[in-house]
Each structure stands twice: as structure tokens, then as C-alpha cells.
Symmetry: C2
Subunit: 128 residues, 2 copies
């Protein structure tokens, strides 16, 4: 797994900004291209590793587990492994992760509204 160097300017800045700006705090936890997408998928209930893979076709396996591990460490989701063979592992949102629901849903709502506008622009452009 890709390790993160502890001391670089950005890491220190992050640490500082962390305490000052609540939005920064969120970005620490859910930034990274795939994280919100994974979380969004888990809003509808717990999923197995393979189910997530299928639900997010363009993600690579490396990215998937990497972020799953990260999200687990950040206590946004909970991993449950049944000691059977072949393995059976499920991921679900933690209480903290579930509290992100309004955030993710506000995102989705905005996206739908905003892309509606953009279609309109595209449409009027295609007429000119």
C-alpha cells in the first residue's frame, strides 16, 4: 500500500487547517477521487468487495481496497470478514459514515440541478 510521508509542507498545512476550517476536516476524510463514490455506493446498504467492484466498474482493484482500507482507518466504514473459504467480506458505513448521508445527498442533488443547467446551455448552443 502506498505510504504517505509524514512531514511535507502540505501535510503540515493540512494539520493546521484541519483545526480551523470544518470543510477542510471533511476533505481530509473524503477527498481522493474515489472515496465519495464508494461511500455513495454504501449508502444503499452493506456490500461485498466484489459487489463494489461491479458497482464502480472503472475503479481498479488497487484503488478500491486502498480506499476501503483508508476509509476503515478513518472509521467511516466497517469491514466484516467471515472466516470462510472462499472469503466473504462485507463493507458497511459506520455511524460516522452514515452521518455523511446529508453531505452526499446534497452533492447528488446539486449535481442533478447543475447538469440540468448545462444541458440547457448545450442545447441552445447546438441551435446556434
Amino acid at each position: 500500500m502506498t505510504r504517505i510521508k509524514a512531514s511535507s509542507t502540505i501535510q503540515e498545512n493540512k494539520l493546521a487547517a484541519y483545526q480551523l476550517c470544518p470543510v477542510t476536516y471533511v476533505m481530509e476524510k473524503i477527498s481522493g477521487y474515489w472515496k465519495p463514490i464508494i461511500l455513495y455506493q454504501l449508502l444503499s446498504g452493506s456490500k461485498r468487495y466484489n459487489e463494489l467492484k461491479k458497482a464502480i466498474p472503472s475503479i481498479t482493484e488497487k484503488m478500491l481496497i486502498q480506499h476501503l482500507k483508508q476509509l476503515e482507518t478513518d472509521q467511516l466504514l466497517i469491514r466484516e470478514a467471515l472466516p470462510v473459504v472462499p472469503p466473504h467480506v462485507t463493507y458497511r458505513l459506520s455511524p460516522s459514515g452514515e452521518r455523511l448521508q446529508p453531505v452526499l445527498q446534497a452533492m447528488a442533488a446539486w449535481a442533478i440541478e447543475d447538469s440540468k443547467d448545462k444541458e440547457h446551455i448545450l442545447f441552445s448552443k447546438s441551435l446556434s
Copy 2:
């Protein structure tokens, strides 16, 4: 300004995912470490370039304008320059940007809740 290469795997994936997942659409627009932070600052009203710089001390000037330009291109904010010397430039949210308010505020709310929990953990740890 740093240019973005048009065709690389990630760019193509982004384009594909873009249409499928609303959260991805949002991430296109507000991902990048500083973007939500800048937007959050502008929620409280229009600000001058220097005001933003002071409000976000750890951001570099390069990152600041780079993201301001990007946000302007994405039509999330509006730049207004008075033709005076020294220059007087203000930035404010566009209608589309203002519609992000629920998102950013949901983020902030979550951050406050979540860090409350974490303080508690830290506190109990310091006792043991």
C-alpha cells in the same frame, strides 16, 4: 497556469463516470484540496483576492489564483475587476455556486459532529 492533458486513462474514466454518478459530477467541480475551502469562504459574501489570501493563510498564491480561475471557468464563481490602480478584484459565488451552500454546510455540520467524537476519544485516551 498548469494545463491538464486531455487524454489519459483517468481523464477518460472521469468522463465516463461523470454521466453515471452524480457524486462524481460534484467531485469534478469541487475536488482539489482547496476548492471547497475557497467556496466555503465565499459563502459569507464576496471577497477580494487579498481577503481570501488572509482568510486561507496556508494556501499559496499560485494555488489560490489557479483554483479561482478554475472555479470561474466552471462557473461556480464570478470575478469582478474594477479598472483602477492598484487593481481591485472581487470574487463572489455564481448562482450555481450558491446552490452549493447546502453541500458545504452539510460538510461543516458533519465535521463538527465528527470531530466532537474524536475529541472524546482523545480525551479518554489521555486518561488511560
